[in-house]
Every structure is written in C-alpha cells, then in structure tokens.
Symmetry: C2
Subunit: 210 residues, 2 copies
C-alpha cells in the first residue's frame, strides 16, 4: 500500500516523501508505503502509514486507486493507493520531506504515476468534498482559502465571484477575530461550517466530459 500525502506551500502543491537510503538517486526518496497487518482494515493501514510518515494524522485520507496483477512467474500482487491531505504549515517528520510537484520528475516512474493519479482523484472530488478546507488550519482568511482553491484548480479565480458564491452557499462562518499580515488591511478569520442541506436543482454539465 502506498500513501500520497499533499500539502500546500509557497503557492504550489507538495507531496510527502520518505528517505530510503538507497544508493540510486531515483529511489532515494519514495512515497510512504507498507503492508497490511493482521487485524487491520486497509483504512487502518493507510492511516498508520500516513501517521508514521507525517508525525501526525492527516486531515483527509481516501482511496485513490489500485494497480497490480500481471506477474507471470509469481502470485499476483495488488497495490492500493491512498491519497491524503495535511494543513498548510504541517512540518515533515525527520526522515521525510515535502517535495514540490514541479520537482517530481526526479522520482521513480512508479511513484510519479501514483502521484498523478492521486492528484486527478483529488481534483475530481474537489466539488463534492471539503478538500480545500482540509488543507487549511481550523480558522483561515478568505484570501487563504481562495489561494488554496487556485492551487488545487491550477487557475486563477475571480475574487468577488469567489466570495459571492461562498456566502451564497453559507459554507463558512465568520469568527470575531481579524489577522493582520505584513501589509494591508487585516482580514477576518473564518471557520468551515458544514452545509445543512444542499440545493440539488441544477442541470447537467456536458462541458466537463472528455
């Protein structure tokens, strides 16, 4: 089992890798992985591997896909991949490191494929699960939230439209705190408020096919 953990840093997605001590450069850093132990569900296994590599529990963890079979000589083996998230600012445990996705070319092909598939799985779920909020601490500013969405989607978003639809869906609740960064007006802090009921009346989106 492999676990692909993402976080957001410096305006880009990063993935967690662990050092192996292997002499070949391409295998020096790999995705956290491990085998299923007795008495453990596969969800348990993924959580254990993620905890070991991260030092703390991820804020999101989900199946991303599986590969396997096709070995002519030995018993077929399947590998399941989980993908997870850690909030902005989560440090990597000693022996692990956050690698920006732009530098994933230095990894083994197997790991790169796994990462690509995990990103695709996360992007596919971004509208249906609170992915972006799992990449943020408990309270956050709306600019931070928008930045995370822009990282995940890989495209800029319109600020006014972003906030309008955010408030229309009533998916964040304001706290009475403000945070001031280096410059500019302080931003109000918000908290994720899971929606009570969702409107379902909407047409079909054919433009996403293909």
């Amino acid at each position: 089992m492999d676990v692909v953990l993402f976080t957001a840093r410096d305006g880009a997605l990063h993935v967690l890798l662990v050092a192996t001590g292997s002499p070949t450069p391409r295998d020096r850093w790999t995705l956290p992985s491990g085998a299923i132990r007795r008495g453990e569900s596969i969800d348990d296994t993924a959580l254990r591997i993620a905890r070991d590599a991260l030092g703390t529990a991820p804020t999101h963890l989900d199946q991303a896909g599986m590969r396997g079979g096709a070995r002519r000589t030995a018993q077929p083996v399947v590998t399941v991949a989980y993908s997870g998230l850690a909030p902005v600012g989560t440090p990597a445990r000693a022996g692990a490191a956050w690698l920006p996705l732009s530098e994933a070319g230095a990894l083994a092909i197997r790991d790169r494929d796994e990462i690509d598939r995990s990103i695709a799985a996360i992007r596919a779920r971004i509208d249906h699960q609170p992915i972006a909020f799992r990449l943020l601490p408990d309270v956050f500013t709306l600019s931070e939230l928008q930045a995370v969405y822009e990282i995940l989607l890989g495209r800029p978003l319109h600020k006014a439209s972003f906030r309008r639809s955010l408030h229309a869906a009533a998916i964040v609740e304001a706290t009475d705190e403000w945070r001031t960064e280096r410059r500019g007006r302080p931003a109000q802090l918000f908290r994720y408020a899971p929606p009570r009921r969702r409107r379902h009346r909407r047409g079909v989106r054919f433009d996403l096919l293909g």
Copy 2:
C-alpha cells in the same frame, strides 16, 4: 474481485447477478466475482469476469474501490471491486439475471454494500465521463438520453434546458434518421460525438459540498 454491472431498464437501474445454486436464499444470487490469475492485470481480470457473466463486453468498466483486511487469525485478504455498464437492452447470459435496484434488499449485505458504493462511484463520475452514453446503443433519441440521465441522477430534468446545454457543448451529432415509436412525432436519432476541447472557465461550486 467483484464486478458490479449496471444497465437501465423500465425506468430504473438494474444490476447483473449470477446464480450460485446455494440453498440459502440470500446467497442464491450474487455479484459476479473471481480471482486474479497469473499474468493477468487487474483490469484484465475485471474484463474477463464481466464477459463471463454478461456474454459480451461491457461498454464501460472502471475501478470502484477496495475493501479488506481486518482478519485477526489468517492472512489479510483484500477484495477489489469494479463497476461497469451495459447498454439498454443487453440480455443477461443464461444463469445470470438483471435485478432492479429496488429489490436489492434480498441480497447479501456484502453485495448490497458493494452495489451502493458502485452507484456512488458512477454518480460521482457522471459529469466527467460519458457514463450515460455507455448505457445507450450507438444511436439514440434525445428523449432516451434524457431518460437515462434522469435514472442516473434520480431526478427529473428540464427538457428545453437539457437540449440547450447538450447542443451548446456539441457533444452529440445528428444522424439523418428518424425513429417512430408507437405514438407521437418521430424523434431524430443522434450519435455521441466526443468533445474536442472543453472550456474550463467556471467558478467554484460550493453548493455540492457535504
């Protein structure tokens, strides 16, 4: 490995089951399943099981999830689930049968869970993959297409809006054939035309969260 195959019939989704000959009623019909053979990828295995149960190849086949582990005494065993689609009117092979989802309560709990997860996986992909077209024959009327979408989504759709966005996305091409059912005006037949490029400019959908 289990394979969950769906088709549309009589205005409802149906799932393919195979007879086992078991004396217990709850196990008399189960999902098609089998083991991974040597030299076979897991995609190959799923396709083989689907073919054996259906008599023909499904028009769609994809990973749906994985369960397993949690056995204290023996080696952990994992079960891989695939979900697939067959066009309207596809007959079941001898020894297999299409069961409407409303009657899935008669199945084993394990199979019911598998089916529920497969439906969720299909509904999650309906906007991103041409699921509905895989449930139809090569040519179809727009009313048939809309009926399939309504079955998949479980809610009625607005006819004019459905056709407007369909034509705006240029995702179907008209043939020069018409088909007349029992009553009413004949309907023009259409064919699925995979989209060339998709526009991506759109805001974020917060109303789907939860």
